[in-house]
């Protein structure tokens, strides 16, 4: 059976070589950092709005989001609703005993996801002009490593 053994060896070698290349191929196939499901909940008048988005980090380093800005908003802060099963208020417990109004930054872990979602972390946005349901508003995220990225947020109705 030397022929069979030879074939087995060859195919194993081939598989091994192929496997070596797989991670490299996969890595080049995906976007290392992406933002998706970006939307804003519209409310009437001049009330502050909540923005939501999912940040995916496929790099090997954590990314720290330090600021967000937009021509449509005077000010954008990172907030967290205290979920306390309904008792609301922002998280005053972040960073131990400090009473923070809002979070200075949020961290998207390496090969991880950070979600601004209803009832939890959200962008608190004070608008500078008129915004209508159906609009798409650009928001620029700035990270601690200097990276910036601009994302279109879809404006949805108050009921989401």
């Amino acid at each position: 059976m030397p022929v069979f053994r030879h074939l087995l060896f060859k195919s194993l070698l081939l598989a091994g070589v192929a496997l070596m290349f797989v991670p490299a191929v996969a890595a080049t196939d995906t976007v290392p950092f992406s933002v998706s499901h970006a939307w804003i909940r519209w409310l009437p008048g001049n009330l502050p709005l909540a923005g939501y988005a999912t940040l995916e980090n496929d790099t090997s380093e954590a990314r720290i989001l330090v600021a967000a800005s937009s021509p449509a908003f005077k000010r954008i802060e990172f907030h967290r609703s205290m979920e306390m099963h309904g008792m609301k208020g922002m998280d005053h417990m972040m960073g131990g005993m400090s009473h923070m109004k809002h979070l200075k930054s949020v961290t998207v872990p390496a090969h991880g996801t950070f979600r601004f979602g209803p009832g939890a972390y959200h962008l608190m946005m004070w608008r500078s002009g008129d915004i209508e349901v159906g609009d798409h508003v650009p928001v620029t995220f700035r990270f601690s490593n200097g990276m910036t990225m601009t994302v279109e947020f879809a404006v949805r109705g108050p009921a989401g």
Binding site: P44, L47, M87, K101, W126
Partner: protein, 196 residues
Amino acid sequence: MTFRCCASLVAASLLLAGLAACSGSAQWRTTDITGVMPDLAFTLTSETGATVHADDFRGKVKVLFFGYTHCPDICPITLGHLAAALRTMGADAKQVRVLFVSVDPKRDTPALLEKYTDAFGPQFVGLTGTQEQLRELTKRYRVAYSYGPPDENGNYLVNHGSAIFVFDRQGHVRLLMNRSDPTKAIAHDLELLVNE
């Protein structure tokens, strides 16, 4: 002594009622609190600035929820959730009024409350009042609210209970709902109350 005897009787009957509710014989899908709290009663300011009383909503099924408009996340989620439930109810939804009571009268003017509640649907009514009126109503339903310190922009948080109280057409307390109840369960229970 008579007080204690009466109270004990009430307690015993309540406990029995509670146990009956837990045993699954009830048709409700949210928490039945019939008889646990007093009938709906309040004097507040309406969206037009006029004085309103609970009696003005007699004949409707009333959903009572406390909040404030400068809360972009949880309050709209809750109101949106109720709106979604009402949308599935068809004509029955016309017999329901969602009373959104703002505990932040400093910022929530009747005009702002009108715009805010209209964004969720015609059944949504914004109410507010003086601190004294709000304290009376929140005490009646054992709900707490308090204000956080203002930040450099004058913005402040309002902490308040998340309870959604439901009253039948006659104003008797019937159900306790919360945001995590599915819209189907909320719609089911409101329909039962409308058709009682």
